[in-house]
């Protein structure tokens, strides 16, 4: 049983922190990456995988509802096992300082962004998961190869 009170609260916290102003598809896709990591890491606890996510915002009511449906398997998962994501819009752009951003994947063109954005290293080797209704400037999703644990 995944829909424990702790799991719902923890997942809602992640979704709120990572995609609070995303649209429905983006919010749920972020949520499903957590579920995929739990499965691949053979754990029933959100806390076991949450170190890879932001958790700085308190969960909103909509996020609690969304987390509940995800953990109860009441929402169709169309994310094809996605485990990673980033927001091209807020990655450093060509010619900008990169700070602590992971830019190992080099430059790419994302949708209508005027300048090329850097992408993280995993984007070089992981297959991309294209999702309808996910805005390409705002989110890109990726799937770690294989079925093993995801760090």
């Amino acid at each position: 049983m995944l829909d424990t009170k702790d799991n719902i609260n923890d997942l809602a916290k992640i979704i709120t922190s990572e995609a609070s102003v995303g649209n429905d598809a983006e919010r749920s896709s972020v949520g499903f990456t957590v579920l995929h990591r739990m499965r691949r890491n053979a754990t029933a606890r959100v806390k076991d995988v949450w170190s890879g996510y932001a958790r700085n915002q308190s969960p909103r009511p909509w996020a609690i509802r969304l987390a509940t449906t995800i953990l109860r398997n009441e929402l169709a998962d169309t994310t094809n096992g996605a485990t990673h994501f980033y927001s091209p819009q807020y990655m450093p752009k060509e010619g900008e300082t990169t700070g602590r951003a992971d830019v190992g994947g080099g430059l790419e063109q994302s949708g209508h962004l005027k300048k090329k954005n850097f992408r993280p290293g995993y984007a070089k080797t992981f297959p991309r998961v294209s999702l309808p209704d996910v805005n390409e400037e705002r989110f890109k999703f990726w799937r770690a190869p294989g079925n093993g644990a995801v760090r």
């Binding site: 980033y86 927001s87 951003a101 209508h112 005027k114």
Partner: protein, 186 residues
Amino acid sequence: MVQYGRGLAALWLGLSFFQPAVLAGDAPSYRQLPVINGRVTLDEYEELPYNQALQRCTALDCRALKSLVRSFDFLGRRYFPNTMATIGPPQLPRGPVPIVRDVARHPQLRGPSCKLLTVLAKDYFDWSVGLLTVELASLISKGDRQCVKRVVMALPKNKETRELIENAQEGCVAQHEPNCSAISFE
């Protein structure tokens, strides 16, 4: 869901509404702007943050627009922290939201900013832009709830907007922002 860019394109359109005032205030700078009237393409919008003419323009409305462009970016970085693309903890933006800081220093920016946000709200095509528009209106409405009320009332009346307002109000309350009760259709 349409493209993110169309939201701020509406801001650019909004700027054209202020042409007379701007011309009176800073005609040479304003005339240098490449897009003043008419429909704005997505490409034109995407260039907005990099537009040198806008950066040089010092008219009140240009300053409001520049500050809003920076504020959308600021909030975007806060809400999309790119945790999986950062070495170490995410680098969230610090300090006040630019438009809040700018309005506090120069209260005359509140009016044009609010008008721009109202124009944007009227024509918002994107969920994120809609939410951020309401949040910015709320943030600059300290002591003047009319701004956020006007922005909310400008939103199109449909089911999605109802959800958006509910979300915006929840976010406002959770973050202890001002004027949350004004974020309502009522």
